[in-house]
């Protein structure tokens, strides 16, 4: 079984995030980069599946030079090899461009499963897994809280607000996971050292045969015209109940368009 896990480097969850004044994109140098937390769950699940069924795990990332750290983290957890798509042209790519680039890198490599964390902590759109599945023309099994593989059939529990749906597809398929699915392992020291010796294929946009016109900020389907820092917290309104507290509260909520 051959599994690709797509991982993304994001700013440390607790770091103050900032946009760059020049092009309104995320300032990735302003904070430490870490592997997107949900992607760790995807790596863990892929490792568990190959431990149970045999096979290999290939970790795939798209991002600046520094995103190589995230590939190495996945390799130190136990993934077998990595693919890193790195190119200036990719800077500012939106979800459509990202899914195009990833799908092009993933296709023709014979993956049975392509796994993702269900969203990234920086962009939080949750659309890339579905887009990649669509571009590859394969089934998408998203928001998995449990994954089982039996021969060519992959079955997941798809987390919903009220419980879960059982969804099944034939491989190859895309699976995105939620944090309920497992407890990601810590890399062992031996894993950390072994990671250095594992192959990582570095691809530029032209190596991957991508059309540069479909990538980057200029190709994005949305534009950030302006941004401002979040205003500091203002003091709240205190409603004193003089028999009409309920009405005052309702009035406040109506005014704020909550009701």
């Amino acid at each position: 079984m051959k599994i690709a896990v797509c991982v993304k480097q994001v700013p440390d969850t607790w770091a103050e995030k900032a946009l760059k004044a020049a092009d309104s994109t995320l300032d990735r140098d302003a904070a430490d980069g870490v592997m997107n937390e949900l992607d760790e769950y995807a790596v863990e699940e892929a490792l568990k599946l190959t431990e149970a069924h045999g096979g290999e795990v290939v970790v795939v990332t798209m991002g600046p030079e520094r995103a190589g750290e995230t590939v190495r983290k996945a390799l130190s957890m136990g993934a077998d090899s990595g693919v890193h798509l790195v190119d200036e042209t990719l800077h500012g790519s939106d979800a459509l461009a990202t899914s195009y680039a990833l799908a092009e890198v993933l296709k023709d490599r014979g993956f049975d499963l392509v796994m993702f964390g269900s969203e990234s902590t920086d962009a939080r759109m949750s659309v890339v897994p579905a887009m990649v599945a669509e571009r590859l023309g394969i089934a998408q099994l998203t928001f998995a809280q449990k994954v089982e593989v039996s021969g060519p059939t992959v079955t997941i529990q798809r987390a919903t607000e009220t419980g879960y749906d059982t969804v099944e597809a034939q491989t190859p398929a895309v699976v995105s996971v939620v944090e309920k699915i497992n407890e990601p392992r810590y890399p062992s020291f031996k894993g950390i050292m072994a990671a250095k010796k594992k192959p990582v294929e570095t691809l530029s946009v032209s190596d991957a045969g991508l059309d540069a016109a479909r990538l980057g900020l200029s190709a994005a389907w949305s534009q950030v015209e302006d941004f401002a820092a979040r205003p500091p917290k203002a003091a709240g309104t205190i409603v004193v109940d003089e028999g009409d507290g309920g009405a005052k509260l309702a009035g406040f909520l109506a005014e704020q368009k909550f009701i």
């Binding site: 770091a15 890399p187 950390i192 050292m193 990671a195 250095k196």
Partner: protein, 401 residues
Amino acid sequence: MGRLAQTEGLTDDQRDILAAVREFVDNEIIPVATDLEHKDEYPQAIVDGLKEMGVFGLMIPEEYGGLGESLLTYALVVEEIARGWMSVSGVINTHFIVAYMLMQHGTEEQKQNYLPRMATGEVRGAFSMSEPGCGSDVAAITSKAVRDGDDYVLNGQKMWLTNGGSSTLVAVLVLTPGEVAEGSSVYKTMTTFLIEKPEGFGEVRPGLTIPGKIDKMGYKGVDTTELVMDGLRLSAADVLGGEPGKGFYQMMDGVEVGRVNVAARACGLAQRAFELGVEYAQQRVTFGKPIAEHQAVSFRLADMATKVEAAHQMMIMAARKKDSGERNDLEAGMAKYLASEYCRDVVEDSFRIHGGYGYSKEYEIERLYREAPMLLIGEGTADIQRMIIARRLLEDYKSRG
């Protein structure tokens, strides 16, 4: 995240190892440490996690199944762990000292026998010099081994064994007066024996009793015990290095790296105390502003950060000196002395910043306040360090007058 106590010139391996440990500490140790400490409970889940990670084999050479990393890497790992909970670093410290003594002084057979199992954490080490009547004054020990055919018979009582109950291999220093020429220096009549034993308390093997845990002010969770030998029979193959009479020097070598280790712990503890203090100082408001904006508090923070930084750099220097193969007793003594004194100061300052809440068991600083004093005493008291430092100074700066 803060930028204090950085280390220049680390390899990628070292940085990745430390990042993995820090993540483990933040997620698996800090959230549970205070509760386990209050219950005086052995941190089994944490120890298992560290075992899987490979911490127990960090410095053991690759040929024996370890990673062969340097003392510096080890010290930085200890610093990270102690930032989470000092007791956890205590679990690995004695293990590491015994492994180091085996690496440096063990016979090939002893290395083959123990090191691979120590690298996985299956065998866990403890060591013992102190007795009820002596600690720093090692030459005053009275425990004794007497030859009986091919065997030795050991009698005596030991004190302050960290991991005395949970370890399975104890290096014990005893007198072997019958093995050396009459009139030899007392330092040449001491021998280190390796005792393998099962975990637990009571009479764990014939002639060997671990009476129970000593109840302590802090440094809880890790078991500190006595050890009683009453006709304990060991073979000549259990003498560390195979030759009697070298025990004192072997132990001193182990303790020297142990000192860097204790300095590293003090650094980790001080860092945590600083983190807690600087956070609280920005949350707590008095007289209309966060207390961090009062000069009295901000000056405390400045002092604390300066001490955290100085102790860290001193500890790094001592570790690097030992790694370079040079004698480091002066630097190790200075690092241990400075880091533990500074740690006490930083913890005290953080405690004061916390005000009344710092006295409550709900706040982590209360635990640190009880833990810091141990570092002033363990692995050679501050005064012993000053003796070592002064002795070396008088050698190096011997008057020509």
